[in-house]
Subunit: 295 residues, 6 copies
């Protein structure tokens, strides 16, 4: 990975909890990595790409330095490390939830702390020391912030007065009898690029194509193809009545007066759409899966 | 689940051996439940539905009482419990077999019992005590029927003279050296509804849509989409020769004289159909999966 | 499997490492076997086919003798056993690699042996004794060839001077500090038939249909369907610029001046194709999976 | 299992959640059953014993009838079925807890029901219908008791007003937001015998030996052997100070004035005992496991 | 493994189904091998031993040639290969069964073949070609013997008229509807040595020690230690009545008139022994496990 | 864990890779923790102990502050954090190896860096930033030290010039083509205590007893009990010849002239000892396991 002049895009992929869903997303986008156990260098069926698995916490720093051209990490770690990188695209693909994650200030349920102001002189444990310090400074609060190596949510009240911790649903906080005081930062996964790589035309096009395909794979999740035949005379009223049938592809059939209608729709709407279509005279309605969708 | 006036459909799903295939079927129909381990209340991405997992044996009773609006259970347990419910649809989706299950009277291979008449004065173990008693009464036979908590097929000859037990293939009975004397009841899964819910227009439509989508998902199992191009002049002879190509969707291609043909066919017939099509001049034949099919 | 006059095709399937991928291939081709654990006689949803699982090494011999009509085995074992069979089709479907496997002559990294000529008087361990002996004879070398029951690659230098062993990637040889001297034979899976069966018209057609469907399933691997709408005026330039869009199916849409284009393309090309299409004015581009493809 | 005159003891073992720990206990007692999956007839290395696996709920009934001579089940199911059997021994060996299980009356946390008196006219779901009815009758309460096929703890408040359910720790009840109102019955596993078998001298001795060995295996759980050397002059003060060293085996060593002390003690006491012994002059203290202990 | 003059014993261990139980046996004997997955060279905590895993079929040949000094294989493969080796000890440690395995002549249940004489002109499939040929010759029968690569028991009647196959319980043969005609050979695992190694004094002692410890570990399986206190006056009558208490170790206790008795006994006898001892006045009876036993 | 005046010892256990072997060690020492998945507060069968699972990196800091009284962590993290704690005992119980781990300076195999002096101006990635900085300062070298979040060994040469990383066998470093330049620190697990807790008499005794039992459990690993009978006349020569039989317990048997000898010996020596004993006239030699050993 030493020579940046030849046509190779160096990409950093997040090691750890997001790894499997990231590789699945890339596969759906058309990039098939294979990872041998214990190796940090996935191989890929594209000679123009070299990949490395690295902790999300370190990604932005290495992209800023040019060690990688492009990579995936959270907005949180971009801010925490203060790295200067190009934010190419938002990629929201976490399976557990489509909502962004939140970094919150949390305290024991029975704590007296009700707002950030009450933290004066307290001990706070967190993995994001810089974000926490900036947040305290902005609120004119002086408190001791300690780096936590893990299991932060079990530390209050004995090992810390408060914590700043990441959460999706709040379940883990509740299970540890903690109460959320404030949300400090919302974060989601981003595709980020090194500035020099972004200004290199070959790399720029490669990165933009990659972004288009990753977004196409994300958009296709939760969409399905729907196809049915209908009398042409009934067509307009259907399209009028069913706004979710946007921009259908309509083709004349050989049988006079009938058309075939095909449309990509939200999978969640299908359960209302199919009964409506059936009642409106549609025949031979069927549904199929799609891999990618680029409008 | 206390308020029945707001727009919520309460649905009972069978806990146990049918649970996974039931949830798969609903997912294919467009209803995605998620079950946390040990919870009996699956969550679902439809605010108008509340679900509970309950043993199939108890389902009909709770639907009759209105505890649930709609649910899935076997015809056998509807009869056994004598519950008065609306039978909305037959749903045959068991993976192991598309055949309905049978409740049979079985005895040891070497038993003298050759028909129900020989049961006079005998001991019968079964999980369906009422069905068995009715069957004996109809045949004017007096015997002792005992509820069996399980492993019914190992009880003869020491713990029972005969059993009434459910079977799909008869394999388990044969493995326990039992002989089937008679079939007492055939059963399959049914979608059943509470009578009041069925008469409520909003619930009625919700239930009917649900039935349509569940049936569409079942029909689609074992069907595939088939698509190919062919000269228009060859089209009629193909359709004549191949009756399984019923109602194909035919579209004119830009290239003069060629049409694109698309049809949903039985997956099992494809292995005969494709060679026939190829020999009849079809080109670019390909096959794809479908999720739902509503004729 | 005793009567060869009725309409039954007896097929041998390779037991062992290829078994799962072979049954998957047949399923994709439309033939669904089910194998109970420990049974060697898979059942299938086609009354005209009887199957048996047998070691690939013994397949050709039993096809030659007529014990089976048709079967799958490697070219290597056809040569090793010297069996006279009809080679119906090449079937390259190994998941690990689409490259054929190679039987190579290998020696310890530090051995003096540099070519087959240096084997004079040496001990060679191998599973393919006949192939090895023929190869030595052709090279006028006299050496002792011993049948190896397994773990051949750990035998040099203590238990053999050289080995003839099968390899896909060479990884296992390298891990055992062996050096490849020469490739003796390339091999891949073949569909082979008994000569009499091949001359029986009913069996011949059944075998040819089977070959067509198996090949259709293999071809479809790594292909996807691609569909998009485009203004007719832009169509020609796209097709000219993008040769991989060979033979697309083009249909006029109801909206004047627009056509729907559908084509089956290599999945690996999609990541270049979609960005090109998008820039050329395509809309509503989506990708879907296919099961079989027969050109 | 038909002939009760020859010297065979027919034993019923509980199928289900207790099965593995029961078979482990018998193994520790010296009786090694082997169970092939799906079989209900474990084989054993003792020609005088025949075993069958049966649900704990049905055990007492089949022992009363003489179908088995002896078996293991809970006190709860003996009472529920009202079977007349000989209670030979208490066997408390459940791993999760050494406490007996309890059948409790439980209601939703927010229910108004505070005692059994408040059940008048309510619906109660339970697996132990008879025990529950007797308990209501004793309290002069009239309520509807329904047999529950399972998942009883999820039924309140929609499917029942109260339940009678078994619990060890109360965790599952709390997780379902239920409150315990009263304990109705404490239960533990018992070794029970048929009355006729108990009066047959050969069977009586066989059953008593079995009980002695099962109890010996249970007693040995949580005991260890402890051995050390000590000067004879220090011996008495140790034994006086350490009452848990009851009845040690003391042997003179060849070296004058020293004795070897060996004793079986509670494993939980060892962590206090060893430091005390060491300080009192003991040398070469070591601890070892035991399988059975019969005082 | 190149230098045979320094003090290293080269040992061959059977790869495959016996591997795990072999390594367990060695561990119990005090030799702890550790095998990394995929490696054929287990490491061991004894600098004087080098080990290799090799198929049991090839063991005797490599011991005869001196590639290994000592190894474990079956009597069957020693005879099949005709290798000249020293048989040091019988090692019967298969978990499934303590009985030796048998190679049997088996035919389809309905075959006319009733004895070896009926094999004249038939096809026989087997893994032990030489043993089978010798057996036919001894019986003056001429038949075709073919090497079988595996799954021999499914070959009759289509692929062979009879087979010679190994069996422990006969279950697999019965499951394939085969009938045993004759037993050709009984076999068990043996520790065998190379003749030159056996004559080397250092290796001879090392091999003999190894054999003693392996046998000690096998003997200890199924034995337990039993210890109890008893009044000296009761001692003799116990030893007289209970012959299995052979050669107990008896020590005087400090308490006058009491002795401690310790004996190693068959674990299977304990269930009779303990009740007898208890009735004869023994106190504090306890049982413990042992690892090795050398009389 | 709020009140330090009552008699409770607060103990920190290392979360992560050492967790299972640590809990096993405590169990062997007589302290049985049970950890529910996801909980950080193991429960224990000793009312005087409260435990928390915490990362080894944070242990020393929390012991210094008095958050815990006692805990287990590596010497490395005591030094890295600079915490002032009492080192009570060395506990070497890692299963993989009994050797202490080493923190080493490692560079790419082909790097020019040959000693710490060559690090001037380089980038070093490590988890132990303080240890590395001190080491550089002691060597008068100025280099940039960056905290590494993990996967440190894959960083050279692209993401770092050198690393300081922990290793047991060096395998992982070799697999990543790194060369060890120097060892910076050897480390092993230690039992450490808070100074105030150490000065509290009740806690001091509790900690010392704990240390004695943990050490007793570690010492017992790899030891076994050996017992045999021998003629008294042969006893002295055995004890003289076999120094590993140190301090045996010898008891006179009832049979005149015989003694029973019992000794705890290294399990690794048993394979030499037993043959020697047998040749010297020992009888009834047997070996058994022990749990703890306190000399």
């Amino acid at each position: 990975m030493s020579d940046s002049t030849n046509k190779v895009l160096k990409i950093g992929l997040p090691k750890g909890s997001l790894q499997d869903s990231t590789l699945e997303l890339f596969a759906k986008a058309g990039f098939h990595f294979s990872v041998s156990s214990r190796s940090y260098f996935p191989s890929i069926d594209d000679d123009e790409i070299q990949a490395i698995l690295i902790r999300a916490q370190e990604m932005a720093k290495y992209i800023e330095s040019g060690a990688f051209d492009v990579g995936l990490t959270g907005k949180d770690w971009i801010i925490e490390t203060g790295a200067k990188v190009v934010e190419v695209a938002d990629l929201i693909y976490s399976k557990a939830s489509m909502r962004p994650v939140r970094w919150v200030l949390a305290v024991p349920e029975k704590s007296d702390i009700q707002s950030v102001k009450d933290l004066e002189g307290k001990h706070i444990a967190t993995e994001v020391v810089n974000i926490t310090k900036n947040y305290l400074q902005k609120n004119n609060v002086s408190a001791e912030v300690e780096f936590s190596w893990g299991a932060t949510e079990v530390k209050p009240p004995d090992l810390a007065d408060a914590i700043v911790e990441v959460t999706e649903t709040g379940n883990s906080l509740r299970a540890n009898k903690l109460r959320i005081v404030e949300t400090i930062l919302e974060s989601n996964t981003k595709l980020i690029a090194n500035e020099a790589a972004w200004n290199d035309p070959w790399k720029r096009e490669k990165i933009e194509n990659l972004a288009m395909l990753l977004e196409g794979a994300i958009v296709a999740t939760g969409k399905v193809g729907l196809k049915f035949n209908i009398k042409e005379e009934n067509l307009k009223s259907i399209v009028d009545k069913i706004p979710s049938l946007r921009n259908p592809t309509i083709a004349h059939l050989v049988e006079t007066g009938w058309v075939a209608v095909e449309s990509i729709v939200d999978e969640k709407q299908v359960r209302r759409l199919i009964p409506d279509l059936k009642r409106a005279g549609a025949e031979g309605i069927f549904e199929y899966e799609i891999n990618k969708l680029i409008y």
